[in-house]
Point group: D2
Chain length 140, copies 4
Amino acid sequence: MKLIKPLIRKANYYETDQMGIIHHSNYIRWFEEARVDFMEQVGFGYDKSVLKGIDFALTGLSCEYKSMVRFGETVQIKASITALTNARMYVTYEVRDYKTGELHTTGETRHCFWDSERKRPVSLKKALPELYNLFKNTMV
Amino acid sequence: MKLIKPLIRKANYYETDQMGIIHHSNYIRWFEEARVDFMEQVGFGYDKSVLKGIDFALTGLSCEYKSMVRFGETVQIKASITALTNARMYVTYEVRDYKTGELHTTGETRHCFWDSERKRPVSLKKALPELYNLFKNTMV
Amino acid sequence: MKLIKPLIRKANYYETDQMGIIHHSNYIRWFEEARVDFMEQVGFGYDKSVLKGIDFALTGLSCEYKSMVRFGETVQIKASITALTNARMYVTYEVRDYKTGELHTTGETRHCFWDSERKRPVSLKKALPELYNLFKNTMV
Amino acid sequence: MKLIKPLIRKANYYETDQMGIIHHSNYIRWFEEARVDFMEQVGFGYDKSVLKGIDFALTGLSCEYKSMVRFGETVQIKASITALTNARMYVTYEVRDYKTGELHTTGETRHCFWDSERKRPVSLKKALPELYNLFKNTMV
């Protein structure tokens, strides 16, 4: 089993809003950063899968806000695949303070696999079995 | 009952991503635009409620992506309060093509009311009964 | 001569930063909105020029900040072509308060015309004389 | 003399636009990231200067685009103070490819020092001589 490390990053000034906290829309972008990093750690970058003709269409997402992040704080963002079928994938996220481990945000993104040439859903297991197995290998 | 009109806006070039579509994180921002516009139509702007010491803390959100929006397309974003208690509010959203009415995205944001002075949850009904009633009046 | 009207838009909550003002990077995006609107008013949308094989590569920009814009304020953004040669175009911008006319920001973007097929600079006058003349017609 | 290291960071997917390149507005945000990192390397973080009552009001900026950055590429962003008077500071930036050193973007931001309490310009040399000297010490 492949262990995936959380992405470490700082909260940027331009990500704050007038409440003095990171604007809620930015966590959705942080999830994407963690997802991209996840694929690199798996050894099959997002670019590579696109080159092979597979996109990860986003079909839905959710996010729960527990406590706020402020400018200059360092967070760790953990992405985990929680469900993987031939056609679909669920990824969950936890954003925590890097130092204290305090939980800031949890979230989920839902994806289906998409043939970027023929513009239709595709079975990842058939189209890219190597990536399918690499993904499976990160799941408990 | 007060009828709330959808917000009309164009998809901006800087909101696209390399797939040639509006990046999914921007819909979360569009929801906020529609929420702010909703409050103005109600006759009690977001600024005013903050001045009165009440914030709308975001506790969670979700978004479902049905079909893509592209640069230059005009969308209508309908916000509706679907639940309102003393302490909490749920708002749902529909993003549709302005011309065809095609449904692009649905979503929900969940809020609790927050005393911006004393930094604790507050009953909107007690703290700002006028706004509570204006909100109630938009619900079917 | 074609008179171009300023773009009217509101400053969004998600565009603020923790200083309680619109973050400086957003004005660059507002310039783009005004530029896109300019082309629509001219009668030759940005999409159409891309379809005809011409891109407006951005080669440089500048921005001067005079006074701040806050959430909820309405601004007018005036775009004007100040220089147009076969190969290059300069556009200047003024962001003003919609009500008072107070000047918030001035800026400039510099573009060259680009053949999107052959990936090389191109003469707009030769490649799209219609658009070249429409642009010329907005200049004093 | 204190040597400041460039900031290393990856270009994010959500920073791309439909041309398949990083949208030009994001470089302005990258400059800010490099500026914040610069201050941390100097040993006097942006937060600390705000706590001491000094803001760095942005009065202007410029950016020149030489070649494009694409999703997944790693860049190095070098910030340098090129002018420092009692009341003003100029910072220049170079964005280069991390591997090849290819120059992508150059830029400049112009700042004045601002008393965040009394809302008026202030002499950094008088108000925060320690920071003034730390800044001076990075200049050739």
